[in-house]
Symmetry: C2
Subunit: 261 residues, 2 copies
């Protein structure tokens, strides 16, 4: 990817953070050398991480995001009218600060009065959280600060932090490039949730192949007939549609076989 | 993409041809500087180009491929037991020769007795072809020798070359990167076919975004209830499944809006 220039670079207490300006993808947030989000393609990832679980829950009022300090997931969550409160749990406040300065189309959502920013460790916060309707993990790869977010003990804590009928979704890496990471996350989630489903979407800057997300639900199946409901086609999305909500759970054969017991 | 070495390079009468050995994707065929196929990911493109139209037709006996000198599409076509004859129409015999030497897992299919190789111009051949059940365009981008294969006059000739109930599919470029090219192809096909449908698949080495394919059918709709039929899950595929056959026609919103009149 051709880089026009470096807008910002710093070493935070948790990671190397950079904001680059690229020719093809606009501004780009990079943590420990890995692309996290770009202005051009972030809508694919954020819409698909957020709207699938949000429309699976019949009335998501209290929502938590772990990671996602850029604000993109929060922006999409706030499009759902039932939402009363969003807690953003981000370990690295420098990510939020950099997004506020350089990625306003994502971070602008963080100023909404329904949003509470909680700069802390996601694992510690999850241990005491209760009664959330939807919890999302919008994390970096399972190296560095995010390692614990891919552990089955964390998934068990998420299940306890959800209200009855609660829905959880995490980004679960690329099943083509790191199949064992995706499989471990899928199985870990399946130990704590009665309904576990994997879906994919092509996020251009994440991998040459498709990216995966896993839903763990205490209530409705994301493929339940009543999901995603009549509101799904009324959001101003660029990627997500009600029909796509179902289609993304239909997996290529080798992914289907990967997660089959 | 990191290249281990160059196995072959020549200037043919039609294009610059190279076969490279890469670390991540194995051997790779390159024409005029554009990646055509790699050993690692070719199954996605070839399975999705071939099986969608082949299972849409109730009994595909006579099949033509325009382009596709590497043999990957022919290999997938021959997995369908109804097939009696496959004509490969390739303008550049050097592509076939390079594939025979360097890409045996693709070109091996060209030795099957049901295959007839016709080294000629696809547009000229189409003008006189008749009674094919399925015709596929497995072409390079619409620059250089493939320009005419994206023209509405060519699509009209394809419709005349098909038997009643015939099914056509072409690769129609990346709707994210070159939306006007995809749209022009889709509309051109729609002028000659009563049923026109666009589907997508992520081919890792083609684009950061998803690739598109367009079906033009004189007979069954690829989304007809009877399609893809009971054989679809019995092929030894790595990507295509019967369920995916339907799911790939569900498009991201911006693609759906692109091709909407």
């Amino acid at each position: 990817m051709r880089v026009r220039g470096t807008l910002h670079r710093e070493k935070t207490p948790y990671q190397e953070l950079a904001v680059l300006d690229t020719f093809e993808f606009g501004r780009m947030l990079v943590l420990d050398g890995i692309i996290q989000t770009t202005e051009k393609d972030e809508f694919v990832y954020h819409e698909m991480l957020v709207h699938v679980p949000m429309f699976t829950h019949p009335r998501p009022r209290r929502v938590m995001v772990v990671g996602g300090g850029d604000g993109g997931s929060v922006r999409e969550i706030l499009r759902h009218p039932a939402v009363e409160e969003v807690e953003l749990v981000e370990i690295d406040e420098r990510v939020i600060a950099a997004a506020r300065q350089y990625l306003p189309t994502l971070s602008g959502a963080l100023d909404d009065p329904r949003v509470r920013i909680n700069v802390t460790d996601g694992i510690r916060r999850m241990a005491e959280a209760r009664d959330f309707d939807v919890i999302l993990v919008d994390s970096t790869d399972p190296v560095g600060p995010a390692v614990g977010l891919f552990h089955e003990d964390f998934y068990a804590a998420v299940a306890r932090a959800l209200a009855p009928g609660g829905v959880f979704t995490a980004q679960t890496e690329c099943p083509w490039v790191t199949p064992q990471t995706t499989l471990k996350a899928f199985r870990g989630i399946a130990r704590s949730f009665p309904v576990t489903r994997l879906y994919t979407a092509k996020v251009p800057t994440y991998s040459n192949w498709s990216w995966s997300f896993t839903v763990g639900s205490l209530g409705r199946d994301p493929l339940d007939e009543a999901v995603p409901g009549p509101m799904a086609d009324r959001l101003p999305t660029r990627y997500y549609t009600a029909a796509l909500h179902r289609a993304v759970f239909v997996l290529p054969r080798f992914v289907e076989e990967l997660i089959k017991e």
